[in-house]
């Protein structure tokens, strides 16, 4: 990917935020997963979003770790290979709840706004 840095930055800023949220939700719903597993679930959930390179998952994972919303632990994967498993923390759960609330509120407003247009 040799796109100019500027392009990726704009798109990725918006998507990074949503990616963080989606990873938190995935971990909360599905329990501890390793990076590959998370990528697969996300792929299932929304194909369009993952036009982003899969590697960016790790950027999100690092950030979530730094914020203390997820924790990492080395363990054994399905094929008995060494893998790092991520799980959501209590703080992460709280953050997830907060962000879900925010998201729903915003989407509710946009929803109403769009319906408003339609009424004319």
């Amino acid at each position: 990917m040799t796109k100019g840095k500027g392009d990726i930055n704009k798109k990725s800023e918006v998507l990074q935020g949503t990616l963080d949220l989606m990873i938190l939700k995935t971990l909360q719903a599905m329990g501890p997963l390793h990076g590959f597993g998370i990528a697969r679930r996300l792929e299932q959930l929304s194909e369009a979003v993952l036009r982003l390179n899969e590697g960016t998952v790790y950027t999100s994972l690092l950030r979530l770790q730094q914020e203390g919303w997820i924790a990492a632990e080395w363990g054994a994967s399905e094929n008995n290979r060494k893998a790092k498993f991520y799980s959501i923390t209590k703080r992460g759960l709280k953050q997830l709840a907060r962000e879900t609330e925010d998201w729903e509120r915003i989407s509710g407003v946009i929803d109403r706004l769009l319906r408003l247009e339609g009424q004319r």
Binding site: M1, G35, F36, N53, G55, T56, Y58, T59, L62, K84
Partner: protein, 712 residues
């Protein structure tokens, strides 16, 4: 939005800071994870039927640029700016180590430039920039009487009192007797008699300066009155040296000049006062302070032996105060024409007064070393330019690898700043060493510089100057190396210097030569003046001359006759001793900075208009003085032991006085009057003495025998 407490933010920052300086990057962890991820992806593609190679390629594409990702992850874990700086510094250090010759030359050049500036700055700081050590020093002014020509001089006590009572612009005014007339005290009753230099002041002196006494109290206003003035305030040094730092000293009695004084207070350590740069000299500091006697009946208006300081009232500007003083002066001129006609009052900020003599010289020096630093910068810039030409290929490769111009500039600037810092460090050390070596040899005028210390201001100055220097010469190579495109630079047959670079280097060389020549010419002129000064004949001899100061207690030697007798006795004892060719006494040694002048009348001349006087420097001297100090006798005779208070009163005048007042006749036999009703006959003319300074004209001087002197 997520809540982040300040504490967590700080912890995050701290973790990133630590990670920046850790040797092992934590990339390896992610490395394993990412490789695993990619191989899993590849596996999936293989199961879909791709070849191993194709699967790997597809997996890589789906995963994304691992190098960039690793960099992003790393940048999230450290502070990228510091990491970049660290890298640049390491690289710069390595470059310097690989070119020791260049590094040494550059650092040495900078060290000389920065060091010279630091040294001179520290001097200027101590003498010019540091505020005087008093409360709100910018509100303090010095008041002087000015003569017809506007020249400032000493103040008479009666005038001081009238100024104080007649002006409203000042919150306080005080008088101090000039050091030429300072009292000298013999401290008795403490074993060996010791001589103390006295400071005679009005009672508000210390409060005008805003000084709080360390022990005891200040003078009271009534202590300026006769009969109540036998009190004293000790300087800190005197208190520790002569009184053993006795904390109960306040109220105790001491003997000064055979009289009983009561100590009322002690000044804090480090208190200094001087009206000129010389007065700040440690050697002439006042040991003991006593109140002036301001007897309202006997205030003199003719003896101008005092300095006056004042503090401007709140909100009063100097110009306003000066205007008011002009009115006061005009009033006094009307009321007292003999003494104050055509005399004005000049108010000068105290700080300016103290630095007056040396300000120009020091500022010139500062300018000169500034130019020297510019030369050093140009020199190093030139060196860097030559190297930049050679490094073009390296720069081109970096650009090709993806470095931005800004990043390159950052790296080059870091190298320059490293060089400048090393130069600054070396320069600082050099400056300290130079100052330590030179301070003992500084002229007396600059002795406020004895408080030169390595203070924070000096360090800040050095740091700032090093940075500015680094940026100045660091910019040079930047301009040079950007012109060519990366591609051109990488070609094999590339000539190293571009046109712009060559022009820049020539320009720098020309600038250096121009500045250097300017400095050389300036220095040459100064050396020439100095040479001329040193070779000026002072009018007396200073080689093989020993001087000693005698202080006689006023109580035992209250009569000039007794003083003269002592001098005669001492001279008799010295006469004929091996090693002593001749000896004599005088009240003021040439070039001592102390002087005393009197107005005199010449017999037979028409009276001068009121308020104008002929004045000459006045010097009591013993027989043998002229011979001992090598002042030539041009006409007539000098003093002998026969010249006593009872014999006819005589005076010996200097050559310039003779020429000024008797241009076409012989002054011998003419009569003068001053300081007494008795007329004095001129018996001799001696050579001029350059008493004020080797660069100033000789003044009229009149010498009298000790016994015939008005007061000592």
């Amino acid at each position: 939005m997520p809540e982040i407490t300040i504490l967590r933010k700080v912890r995050k920052l701290w973790q990133r800071m630590r990670a920046t300086f850790r040797h092992e990057p934590r990339e390896s962890e992610f490395q394993a994870e990412m490789e695993e991820h990619v191989s899993l992806l590849a596996e999936r593609y293989r199961r879909q039927g791709m070849t191993a190679e194709a699967a790997m390629l597809a997996a890589g594409r789906q995963f994304g640029n691992r190098t960039l990702l690793k960099e992003d992850l790393r940048n999230m874990q450290i502070i990228p700016a510091i990491e970049a700086l660290r890298g640049d510094l390491t690289y710069a250090a390595r470059m310097l180590r690989k070119n020791p010759g260049f590094a040494a030359t550059a650092v040495l050049t900078l060290a000389l430039g920065i060091g010279a500036n630091t040294a001179i700055f520290s001097l200027c700081n101590a003498v010019l920039f540091k505020p005087l050590p008093y409360a709100e020093p910018d509100r303090l002014v010095m008041l002087s009487e000015t003569d017809r020509d506007g020249r400032p001089g000493g103040v008479a006590l009666a005038n001081f009192v009238d100024w104080r009572d007649g002006s409203r612009s000042f919150s306080g005014m005080a008088a101090l007797r000039a050091s030429s007339f300072a009292s000298s005290f013999i401290l008795g009753g403490h074993g060996e008699a010791s001589r103390l230099t006295g400071g005679d002041v009005s009672s508000s002196f210390f409060s005008v300066l805003g000084i709080r006494l360390m022990l005891g109290r200040n003078f009271l206003p009534e202590e300026n009155l006769p009969g109540h003035n036998r009190v004293a305030i000790l300087s800190y040094a005197t208190w520790t040296r002569r009184f053993g730092a006795d904390r109960d000293i306040a109220g105790k009695a001491i003997t000064l000049n055979d009289e009983r004084y009561t100590v009322v207070g002690v000044l804090p350590a480090g208190f200094q006062f001087g009206s000129t740069a010389e007065d700040f000299q440690a050697a002439s500091q006042v040991d003991i302070w006593v109140p002036l006697v301001l007897d309202p009946q006997r205030l003199q208006r003719g003896a101008h032996m005092y300095h006056v300081i004042a503090r401007l009232g709140p909100g009063v500007k100097l110009a306003q105060a000066q205007a008011e003083l002009d009115v006061v002066a005009a009033n006094l001129a009307k009321h007292y024409p003999e003494d104050d006609k055509e005399k004005g009052i000049l108010a000068v900020p105290l700080a300016d007064q103290v630095t007056r003599g040396v300000r120009v010289a020091l500022e010139t020096l500062l300018g000169a070393v500034g130019l020297v630093l510019l030369i050093a910068c140009a020199n190093v810039a030139n060196l860097l330019l030559s190297r930049a030409a050679a490094r073009q290929k390296e720069m081109a490769v970096r650009v090709a690898l993806g470095a931005s111009r800004g990043r390159l500039a950052q790296q080059l600037l870091t190298e320059s700043l490293l060089l400048a810092s090393l130069g600054g460090l070396a320069g600082f050390v050099l400056a300290i060493a130079a100052m330590a070596a030179l301070t003992p040899h500084l002229p007396a005028d600059l002795s406020r510089a004895s408080v030169i210390a390595i203070d924070p201001q000096l360090l800040i100055f050095t740091v700032v100057i090093s940075l500015v220097t680094g940026i100045l010469f660091g910019l040079g190579p930047l301009f040079g190396s950007w012109r060519k495109s990366a591609g051109e630079s990488l070609k094999q047959n590339n000539r190293t210097s571009s046109g712009i670079q060559t022009r820049l280097r020539s320009g720098l060389a020309v600038a250096q030569i121009a500045i250097a020549i300017t400095l050389l010419i300036g220095a040459g002129l100064m050396v020439k003046s100095f040479w001329a000064l040193v070779h000026v004949a002072p009018g007396f001899r200073s080689d093989s001359i020993l001087t000693a100061r005698l202080s006689l207690p006023g109580s035992r030697y209250d009569d000039n006759g007794k003083v003269a007798a002592l001098e005669r006795a001492l001279l008799d004892r010295l006469h004929g001793r091996p090693g002593i060719q001749s000896a004599g006494f005088t009240t003021y040694v040439p070039l001592s900075g102390l002087d005393n002048d009197w107005g005199f009348l010449i017999e037979g001349r028409p009276p001068l208009p009121t308020g104008t006087y002929n004045t000459a420097q006045y010097r009591p001297a013993s027989p043998g003085y002229f011979e001992a100090i090598g002042i030539p006798l041009l006409r007539g005779r000098s003093f002998t032991v026969a010249d006593t208070a009872e014999s006819p009163w005589v005076v010996v005048i200097s050559d310039s006085m003779a020429r000024e007042y008797w241009p076409s006749e012989n002054p011998i036999g003419q009569r003068l009057q001053f300081g007494s009703e008795k007329w004095r006959t001129v018996i001799g003319v001696v050579g001029d003495v350059l008493d004020q300074g080797l660069d100033m004209a000789a003044r009229a001087e009149m010498y009298v025998p000790v016994e015939q002197a008005p007061n000592l």
